[in-house]
């Protein structure tokens, strides 16, 4: 028995050795073109690998290597120094806008990217829209057998919905939720009435047990039953649901933020980089990514490849977009620093 196993193993090694040279030549051809991508690492990159990188390499022969985590400082440093670690970066919409204003990203190369292969609003600040993330009200269903909160107004209503609460320690998100709780329609949140928002926030402050800062912290709080109502990123809540926890997500008044792809200014492999960006926003790869991590596809056609059950949980699902806060990313980016300072001060007092 043991001997047979040994022989089997030996045979496998011998086969691998014989096939070795073939694999190597295969690689050397593909290696003639490689692009480097800056991304977040971990499960995020594992999903990207399956949805974007592998199919792209299969389709074009261009290899993709990743560098983690995403760093704005490095993007700036490599453009200034002219020595590049990566060509493509995944980047939040606000950071891309700033990078574009600072001249750190390439303009869209329309000789590579074809307009008819893109969807409306795919291009923003010289990047391509990649996926969308919801920041929602989430709660423990088991704590509210009579039916849970349905809006930010309910979240603020501590008498009707008793329970410990937690919010995300992020000023611009919180300010928007407060405005909706105060009765501002979701499509009229911008321009932000910051004073009104802080007046509303004063009411909820004594009831917030913890202001969380890290994604896994928010999951731990809800999982351990430390809090019953919480502000949470949609994919994090979906992950808890998949683990069998009685968690419900509210889409009314959620904020939807888009993550982008950008190409570093002057990057050596910018032609294949744009080829990759165009590939990555096509319906099939977008759907594959959404099916893995529950971040919304930016390409509307991707929903053709996603089941209705999963679709309903995604930020870009049309029904969810309709009730979410209508964003104004430029106005938001311009006010972030100022609001954050006031918010930090407000939290500390």
């Amino acid at each position: 028995m043991r001997r047979r196993a040994f022989l089997k193993g030996f045979a496998a090694i011998a086969t691998a050795a014989a096939a070795g040279p073939l694999i190597v030549t295969d690689r050397t051809i593909a290696q003639t073109r490689t692009i480097f991508v800056n991304t977040w690492g971990g499960s995020w990159t594992a999903a990207e690998e399956a949805a974007f990188f592998k199919p792209f390499t299969e389709a074009t022969g261009i290899r993709v290597r990743t560098v983690a985590p995403v760093s704005y400082a490095k993007l700036k440093a490599q453009v200034q120094s002219g020595s590049y670690e990566w060509d493509v970066t995944a980047i939040t919409q606000a950071d891309l806008l700033r990078a574009d204003r600072e001249g750190l990203v390439e303009p869209v190369d329309w000789t590579v990217v074809k307009k008819d292969k893109l969807f409306p609003n795919a291009v923003y600040a010289n990047g391509l829209a990649y996926c969308a993330l919801g920041t929602n009200l989430a709660y423990r269903k088991d704590k509210f057998p009579q039916g849970g909160p349905k809006s930010w107004a309910d979240f603020w209503d501590v008498k009707k919905f008793p329970g410990s609460r937690s919010m995300l320690n992020n000023a611009v998100r919180t300010v928007q939720f407060a405005l909706v709780a105060d009765g501002v329609p979701v499509d009229k949140v911008f321009p932000l009435d910051v004073d009104r928002a802080f007046r509303k926030l004063d009411q909820i402050k004594p009831h917030i047990k913890v202001w969380w800062t890290q994604g896994n912290q928010s999951q731990q709080l809800l999982r351990d039953g430390e809090v019953d109502l919480i502000v949470m990123w949609n994919a994090r809540a979906s992950e808890l649901q998949q683990q069998g926890l009685p968690v419900e997500l509210v889409w009314h008044g959620a904020t939807i933020t888009t993550t982008m792809w950008g190409v570093a200014k002057g990057a050596p492999n910018r032609k294949p980089a744009w080829e990759f960006l165009q590939f990555a926003v096509q319906p099939k790869p977008q759907a594959d990514f959404a099916n893995k991590l529950y971040y919304g596809p930016t390409n509307p056609d991707a929903f053709k490849h996603i089941s209705p059950e999963v679709s309903r949980q995604l930020p870009t699902y049309p029904e969810n977009v309709k009730v979410a806060i209508k964003p104004d990313t430029v106005a938001e980016a311009d006010q972030t620093a100022k609001i954050q300072e006031r918010f930090t001060q407000w939290l500390a007092s």
Binding site: A73, R98, Q214, G225, E226, Q340, T344, L347, A348
Partner: protein, 291 residues
């Protein structure tokens, strides 16, 4: 050529040896110096530069730190918290180190093992352990319920929780520093004190305590300076009220990309830390800390 050789021959042998020894010493020091310059001096210089040049050449960031109340508050809070944690570590750690140093055999070994294990357990793990212990479903809340005391007070996400967590994490540093100093105290000194008529309390006060002071100073400096830069524990166990400088720096960089302002805050923290070390040096002497 011959002249040079002659000169070497004429020079006293000890001087030649000294010069060579000097050169060897420098050669041995070179890698450490190079690493320090590249990994420490250069980045700090860059941070200093950023604090007055990003986004433009000005001292506006420093002005903001000292004029906007919340930033001054964070600075003061960081120092007060560090002082409290240092004092707690000293009060809790001194008796433990005393027993470890004075008692031979298994008691000492057991204590040392416990302290070392705590020391080697990642601080993130220890912080999460407090989340469980102090949580609303944890043993403390359970004990309250079992004893019929009603609902436990909120221990988690409070100044208490954050101070407790930081004290727990830094305690091994204090104990090990104290232990190292106390082990060096010759037991015969205490015997001599006793033979001269000192009661144990007096012997401790007049002989042991002064001799253990280097350990107290060393441990306090170590704990205090480490505490100034604490990040994860107050974030996970405390409230936004207890914000420390590192959280402020992290927020400015991660959320606002305000590298200039974050650098200025870092520089203020660095200068304040250096001031503390300088004061220690003036009164205690830094060289005494290491033995």
């Amino acid at each position: 050529m011959a002249g040079e050789l002659n000169a070497a021959a004429v020079r006293p042998a000890s001087l030649v040896g000294g010069a060579r020894r000097n050169a060897t010493a420098w050669l041995l020091l070179a890698p450490a110096c190079l690493a320090l310059v590249l990994l420490f001096v250069v980045p700090i210089g860059y941070v200093l530069l950023l604090s007055v040049t990003d986004p433009r050449l000005s001292l506006a960031h420093y002005e903001r730190i000292f004029t906007v109340p919340v930033y001054t508050r964070v600075m003061v809070n960081t120092f007060v918290t560090s002082l409290i944690v240092t004092a707690l570590c000293l009060v809790i750690g001194y008796p433990v180190a005393y027993v470890m140093a004075r008692r031979a055999g298994w008691v000492s070994t057991l204590l040392l093992t416990i302290v070392a294990m705590s020391f080697w357990t990642g601080f993130l793990v220890r912080t999460y352990a407090w989340l469980v212990i102090l949580g609303s479903k944890g043993p403390v809340a359970g004990a309250y319920g079992a004893l019929g005391l009603g609902k436990a007070p909120q221990l988690l996400f409070s100044t208490f929780g954050s101070t407790l967590g930081m004290t727990h994490i830094l305690l091994p540093y204090m104990i090990l520093a104290l232990y190292a100093a106390m082990r060096k105290i010759d037991a015969n000194h205490l015997k001599a004190a006793a033979s001269l008529g000192a009661r144990p309390a007096a012997a401790f006060r007049d002989v042991f305590l002064p001799l253990s002071l280097p350990g107290v100073v060393n441990g306090s400096l170590l704990v205090f300076v480490t505490c100034l830069g604490f990040f994860v524990t107050p974030v996970l166990l405390g409230t936004p009220r207890d914000m420390m400088i590192s959280q402020l720096i992290n927020q400015q960089i991660e959320e606002l990309l305000a590298f200039g302002f974050a650098s200025a805050v870092a520089v203020v923290l660095l200068i304040a830390t250096c001031a503390v070390v300088a004061i220690y040096n003036h009164y205690a002497g830094l060289d005494r800390l290491w033995g």
